[in-house]
């Protein structure tokens, strides 16, 4: 091949990788074969930079049914049911075409869930944008939110929560992560592991076009001027098609017609065919002439690499072909037998009567390169002082203004403008709607419910990846505890810059270590996840942004806790310790815009005790409300609880240090709870037993938030600031 160099560049393969391919094959690959390698060996599919580290995260537990490696992870929740969930990124496509990029992100993660036989019951979205003050960013924000809404709403699956942060680090590379949660019978979970040579391979769903042919390679490269040259055809989502596909798959799965199923996600037909066959230790032969096509004259590699949405690959049981066809036809979907499982561990691709690829599967999968990338601590981190950054901020003259300023900041303020565009009540199971720390989705036919949240503060992770990532796990667990549930498992989405940059690699490894340590200490297994590298533009990476998605279980939904203040006269109690920790805080950002210093300290052990305490107190029905302290500290937690409950409060704090630092410090492992006065003694004893510091701050009372001479703000004013929106 004459312009091999150009081609390799286009395919994002290195010359060394090419040599490895020819070495393994003992010959030159055909064009189709080279494309297949480029997809399977891409960062996105092979995890070649991250694989050595991901195993550090604990992934087992007595209730874990399926850990990382399948389309999604599964945990038993009793009553013969399993909860199945995962989170995934769609950052680059959303930057190119916000509506469809985000929409197809939701479509993709939903397929991962119903592929396994689960009916999806909730969607969450974790978003990061630049500051919402220029028209381009507004366009991206509006498009992404509308895209998520457009897809999830049409599917009829409630989007019950998520997060949205704004920081200039995401100006040229936004983050769009979507999480989906489903429920399946624990003994009827479908896997992507093929079995039974001779079994037929079915293609179902939408037709194949030239959509997103470079998808997997694009997700494995940085944004440069050249990305524009790749010009993949943008994938447009068709949620209507996916709804039909979901109903058809779930209907088919009620009977025993299939042995394996996988959606065609990144790298389309290539990765689904290769992975299913490889997992089963078999081979696969497919005939591209039988692939339903939307466009004319598609080349074999185009069909193999297309990322057209709303498609599935199914291995049926021999003899059950008719049943498969019947179900998909009933739902008006294309269904075509495109191949067969073989004994020999190869993938064979035929088209127009010729063989275009014949590749050993172990070369594609097991022999994919793995890189131990160089890692080094960035200078900014090495030089960060322990000095308290808040020393640089003068005490505010007007606390009223400061609190309202924080409350109306885009990151802290109400996200109703986002989640009111999402159908969060379809399904009639959303018991705690968006707006609380975690959403709560009941399971009809039982008293149980699932608490779900996503969390991740990238400012912390930037300042100290290990700490920041650990905090994300702790905060997620705290949010789950605050609605009365017990965390059972988590998923993660690791959004980072280029792994070829040693400083990014260091951030990545530290973050993984932080998640591993926290989840181990809290006993919360990591059952699925996703790595998104190359989140950088023109060599500038985003803040390291690991996002945690967590699911908790509540045995009796009647014991749920909500964040709003309840009864006048209830005592307001702060659990946990407040230190002077304003590094990386929203307060510091509001005051100066700089984020030097260190993030708040993290101690998963303390988090575990705090959660244990809340859980036990709630068992004794001693808690009337709970709000976790996160961005904006106790000051914001008080305001949020007041707004949510439509009740004022009378607060008196024995200041340990300067009031602004104490009010807005973002010290971790703290929860603001309320309790009826008569429970106080019991409460204190229990806190003592768990070694959780306990501080009565005041009472629920009136229609103002009053704080000891510093603040006296009517509820309406708080609410107006909170609801202002960006």
């Amino acid at each position: 091949m004459e312009n091999l160099d150009t081609l390799l560049k286009e395919l994002n393969l290195t010359p060394t990788e090419y040599t490895r391919i020819t070495g393994e094959l003992g010959r030159q690959p055909s064009l189709t074969e080279l494309w297949i390698f480029s997809a399977m060996w891409s960062e996105h599919c092979s995890y070649k930079s991250s694989r050595p580290y991901l195993g550090r995260m604990p992934s087992t537990g007595k209730d874990v049914l399926i850990g990382p490696g399948e389309n999604a992870g599964a945990v038993s929740i009793g009553d013969g049911l399993a909860v199945i969930f995962k989170m995934e990124s769609h950052n680059h496509p959303s930057f190119i075409e916000p509506y469809n990029g985000a929409a197809t992100g939701v479509g993709g993660i939903l397929r991962d869930i119903f592929t396994m036989g689960a009916r999806p019951v909730a969607i969450l979205d974790s978003l990061r944008f630049g500051e919402p003050d220029d028209s381009r960013m507004r366009y991206l924000i509006d498009g992404v939110v509308a895209g998520i809404a457009g897809y999830g709403n049409c599917m009829g699956i409630p989007t019950v929560g998520g997060e949205i942060y704004f920081d200039s680090t995401y100006r040229e590379n936004i983050i769009v992560n979507a999480m989906a949660v489903g429920i399946a019978p624990a003994d009827r979970i479908f896997l992507a592991k093929a079995s039974g040579a001779g079994n037929p391979v079915f293609y179902v769903g939408s037709r194949t076009g030239r959509d997103g042919i470079h998808g997997a390679t694009m997700a494995s490269a940085s944004f440069t001027e050249e990305t524009a040259v790749l010009k993949p055809t943008v994938q447009v989502g068709d949620p209507f098609m996916e709804k039909l596909l979901m109903e058809a798959c779930l209907e088919l799965m009620k009977a025993d017609h299939i042995v394996a199923i996988q959606d065609m996600g990144a790298a389309g037909l290539t990765s689904s065919a290769v992975e299913m066959a490889a997992k089963g230790g078999l081979g696969i032969a497919i005939n591209l002439d039988r692939v339903p096509q939307r466009e004319e004259g598609m080349m074999p590699h185009e069909i193999m690499l297309s990322e057209s949405q709303e498609r599935m690959l199914i291995i049926a049981k021999k003899g059950h072909e008719k049943a498969v066809e019947r179900v998909f036809k009933k739902w008006g979907l294309d269904v075509s037998r495109i191949g067969i499982l073989t004994q020999q561990k190869q993938i064979i691709v035929r088209a127009n009567g010729a063989v275009h690829a014949r590749l050993p599967l172990d070369t594609l999968v097991d022999k994919a390169p793995v890189y131990t990338r160089h890692a080094s601590m960035p200078a900014y981190r090495a030089e960060a002082s322990e000095e308290r950054p808040s020393d640089q901020i003068p005490e505010p003259a007007d606390y009223h203004k400061t609190l309202l300023g924080l409350l109306s900041s885009p990151t802290i303020g109400s996200k109703a403008w986002v989640y009111e565009q999402y159908d969060h009540s379809v399904g009639t199971d959303t018991v705690i709607k968006p707006g609380a720390g975690a959403a709560l989705v009941r399971i009809k036919g039982s008293k149980k419910g699932l608490a779900i949240t996503t969390d991740g503060n990238a400012r912390y992770t930037y300042l100290d990846p290990y700490t920041g990532a650990g905090i994300a796990v702790c905060e997620a667990a705290r949010n789950i505890a605050c609605v009365g549930a017990r965390p059972i498992a988590l998923t993660d989405c690791l959004n980072f810059g280029s792994p070829e940059d040693p400083e990014v690699m260091w951030q990545f490894i530290e973050s993984v270590n932080g998640i591993a340590a926290a989840s181990l200490a809290l006993g919360i297994p990591v059952i699925s996840g996703n790595v998104s590298f190359y989140n950088e533009t023109e060599g500038k990476s985003i803040y390291p942004t690991p996002v945690i998605g967590m699911v908790g279980l509540i045995d009796d939904i009647a014991t749920r806790i909500t964040p709003g203040f309840k009864d006048s006269g209830d005592l307001i109690v702060l659990l946990g310790t407040t230190l002077d920790e304003c590094g990386g805080s929203e307060y510091l950002k509001l005051a100066g815009g700089q984020i030097p210093g260190r993030p708040p300290k993290v101690s998963p052990a303390r988090e575990a005790r705090l959660i244990g305490l809340v859980h036990e107190m709630n068992k004794g029905r001693m808690i009337t409300s709970a709000t976790d302290c996160s961005e904006g500290g106790v000051g914001i937690a008080l305001a949020e609880a007041a707004i949510a409950g439509n009740r004022g409060a009378e607060i008196r704090i024995a200041w340990q240090f300067r009031p602004d630092r104490e009010l807005f410090s973002e010290s971790q492992h703290r929860i603001l709870v309320t309790t009826a006065g008569r429970s106080l003694e019991k409460f204190k004893n229990m806190a003592h037993k768990y070694s959780v510091p306990f501080q009565v701050l005041g009472r629920v009372q009136g229609t103002h938030l009053r704080l000891d001479g510093l603040l006296d703000i009517p509820l309406e004013e708080l609410r107006a600031a909170y609801k202002k929106g960006p």
């Binding site: 076009g209 030239r210 055809t233 943008v234 447009v236 068709d238 209507f240 098609m241 949405q309």
Partner: protein
Amino acid sequence: MIARVFIKPKKGVLDPQGKAVHSALGKLGFNQVRDVRVGKYVEIRLDTGDRDAARSGVQKMCDTLLVNKVIEDFTFDIADD
């Protein structure tokens, strides 16, 4: 002047609406339909008598706001009121 802008999904870009309409037309018995694309129609009334100015104005409107060039193509025409 009145400008009429016709926007449709680019060639190769999936058009779920067009697909759905196509199949509905088929079920209604219109079976000579080979393909349907559904896009947007924008009618802009302009306060100007200068056709060239109108033309370059509308072109700019399409470029900056009306059309999402990542997935859409457009044409327009201009006529007297």
